[in-house]
């Protein structure tokens, strides 16, 4: 459910940029989504298929680039990737950490003709 309104936002932004580029149609949309946002690719695709018909972006392919979560340990400074739900620093076993990557949520580019 929660992907509905974000997919609508994606579509609005895409249509806006496509019109500004005087495009006839949108072929592809390149999204960047961090794994910590909790948004699911399939749901975004599902809502996109539902919302886009009749717009300039109908039939466009969604490319979603996932950014994995990367943390920095607050105790020892070690940088590490989040593995599943494990937030332990591999070096000193402190839990948690500063998030360096994984919360991204943007439209990088669109391909139009």
């Amino acid at each position: 459910m929660h992907e509905l309104s974000i997919t609508q936002s994606v579509l609005n932004i895409v249509i806006d940029h496509a019109q500004r580029a005087c495009a006839r149609r949108v072929i592809a949309i390149n999204l960047v989504i961090g794994e910590l946002t909790g948004f699911v690719d399939d749901s975004i695709q599902f809502y996109f298929d539902m919302l886009s018909p009749g717009t300039i972006a109908a039939g466009a392919t969604l490319h979603i680039r996932r950014i994995l979560a990367r943390l920095r340990c607050r105790a020892c400074g070690e940088e590490f990737m989040l593995k599943g739900s494990n937030w332990l620093c591999p070096k000193c076993l402190t839990s948690g950490g500063e998030i360096l990557a994984g919360r991204e949520f943007l439209i990088e580019s669109i391909e139009v003709e």
């Binding site: 309104s5 936002s9 948004f39 607050r74 998030i99 943007l106 439209i107």
Partner: protein, 218 residues
Amino acid sequence: MKVSVIEGILSANDEIAMQNKQVLDAHGICAINIMAAPGGGKTSLILRTIDALRHLLRIAVIEGDVASTVDADQVATKAIPVVQINTGGACHLEAPMLRRALEQLPLEGLDLLLIENVGNLICPVEFKLGEDLNVMIASVPEGDDKPYKYPSIFVAVDAVVINKIDLLPYVHFDIAAFRKLVLGMNPGVKIFEVSCETGLGIESWAEWIVQQRERKQK
């Protein structure tokens, strides 16, 4: 042809959130966005907070709900201004909804606005409303592994309220481990342990709100 966009997907929402914030700032109102999973105790915490602070601050409540008005009706019994937002199925509040709700409130006569977001731990944190503070409630029966499952909300909030601590003897919830993990994720976060059932811990939570509101006045 490739067109570079590089635009945050929620930028339109963020823009309106900023305008909401300006309206709230202009009236000196401190707005708190309260998030939790369904059943975490959002309405109970709001009712307790009203009782604890109504002699000090002029309070209003915005109730976000997918469809019903049950929570708003409960708050209305406290005889303070309350606006119900039915999201019509959406699982979070958005800035334009808050803007419409603000239009229905007597902003001139308010100090504190409590916003009950829709019960959900993923979306509410992505959609800014214009609030000053973000608070999440984690209740003891939900288990102590919430930060692993929903890290985004734990890193984004100013305070975590651990609710239903009166149930600690009956369910497994390792408060020390929970605190350690949450502080490791978000070192600046305030953690409160409360029971909205018995009122335990509400006082220090209410004191913190008063401090935050005073800080905003300066």
